[in-house]
């Protein structure tokens, strides 16, 4: 193969929408499996002495929702279920109003909403975009349910807007600015890049559609490959830690330590 061919536009375009996609997905899945196994090898069962109320050993269960107590069989998110108000019949249940006020959603509601929307759409939206499903259908004959194009277009705008809010926080809010490094801007750009390029390509803002769509594919691939090994690792870390490591803020019956 001649060198001029390797550096030709057609070759690059074919490469990033062909083998590169496979490479990105393989690195992503293998990396995630590696990190999950690594986490699991670090975690060990923590022998927790279960607290049991008894004579001379009173436990006020209303404030002990986080403590290792034998509550029978409980599922995820059911570590002390909620009740409507303070007049509770079951002392094991939490008052959801107090819980909400003290939670991060009560303390910082704006960021909770923005960050939730951003992360849900970041992961969920690409799966339901019509263009992606057509590609899947062409390649494998299978596809997911697709959102109408105007809806996915609007939601892409929402993701970009959320990313801009993050950027402005980093630039202008003292408490974020003080802990921000260059890597934070880089990874924020990398997270937003597939959406920005996809949006520009869909609206054909620039005449060179092929270049934009190539950048769209490339940025998506780079992001996928970066997930298991960079700051994006918080995606895996969050699930592994909060569902497995015992603690006040863990989900469900997490009982391990590391």
């Amino acid at each position: 193969m001649a060198l001029s061919h390797i550096f030709s536009w057609t070759f690059v375009y074919d490469f990033i929408r062909g083998p590169m996609v496979w490479i990105a997905f393989i690195i992503f899945f293998c990396g995630v499996v590696f990190q999950v196994l690594r986490f699991m090898s670090l975690l060990k069962e923590q022998p927790i002495k279960k607290l049991t109320p008894g004579p001379g050993h009173f436990i006020y269960t209303r404030t002990a929702s986080h403590l290792p107590m034998d509550r029978g069989k409980t599922g995820w998110f059911k570590k002390g279920w909620f009740t409507k108000g303070p007049d509770k019949k079951d002392p094991n249940k939490k008052d959801w109003r107090v819980w909400l006020t003290l939670s991060i959603a009560g303390v910082n509601p704006f960021m909770t909403v923005v960050t939730t929307i951003f992360h849900v759409l970041l992961i969920g939206l690409p799966v339901f975009v019509l263009g992606h499903n057509i590609l899947l259908d062409n390649a494998f004959g299978v596809s997911m349910v697709s959102l109408p194009e105007n809806v996915s277009d609007f939601l892409t705008g929402v993701v970009i807007f959320c990313a801009l809010i993050f950027l402005f926080r980093r630039l202008f809010l003292d408490r974020v600015k003080i802990i921000t490094s260059c890597a934070d801007y880089l990874f924020l750009s990398l997270a937003a890049a597939p959406f920005v390029t996809g949006y520009l390509a869909y609206h054909q803002v620039f005449s060179n559609y092929k270049l934009l769509i190539s950048l769209h594919i490339l940025s998506g691939e780079l992001m996928l490959m970066a997930v298991p090994f960079t700051k994006f690792m918080h995606m895996i870390y969050m699930i592994m830690v909060r569902f497995n490591v015992a603690g006040e803020y863990s989900f469900g019956n997490a009982s391990k330590n590391w």
Binding site: I104, N108, T115, R169, H234, Y237, M238, W258
Partner: protein, 128 residues
């Protein structure tokens, strides 16, 4: 910013040995920190000091344990002195700090304290 290090009185090997004990957990935690600052309000000292960002839990561990791992334990007395202010004066290890991702912030600050203590850098209230 670029000052000459004076490592006299600091045993870097001892620091490295302490850091290596929890290397995997700490490095993963430092990497996972998204620098979101949502842990700020969970610190009562942050709230009590007019929301001074230097009291944020993330600021405290990034500038103590973060620096120790970044410099691989090659720190001098001045670095440790700065860390002393962070981990003793600006943190009481009440363990109330909250990270949405699940980072064990008190464990990180406790490690920084341990490193400082191993080098004789800690508050001596009877002398100060």
């Amino acid at each position: 910013m670029f000052r000459k290090k004076n490592t006299a009185g600091v045993n870097s090997n001892e620091i490295r040995a302490i850091l290596n004990e929890k290397k995997t957990k700490m490095k993963l935690s430092l990497k996972a920190c998204a620098h979101c600052s949502l842990c700020a309000e969970s610190c009562f000292l942050f709230m009590g000091h007019n929301k001074d960002p230097k009291y944020m839990p993330s600021y405290k561990f990034l500038h103590s344990v973060g620096v120790l791992y970044k410099k691989k334990g090659n720190v001098d007395k001045q670095d440790l002195g700065e860390m002393r202010d962070l981990v003793w004066e600006r943190c009481v290890l009440c363990t109330r700090c909250y990270c949405p991702i699940g980072i064990d912030i008190p464990d990180m600050l406790a490690l920084a304290r341990r490193v400082c203590r191993s080098q004789g850098v800690y508050p001596q209230y009877d002398r100060e």
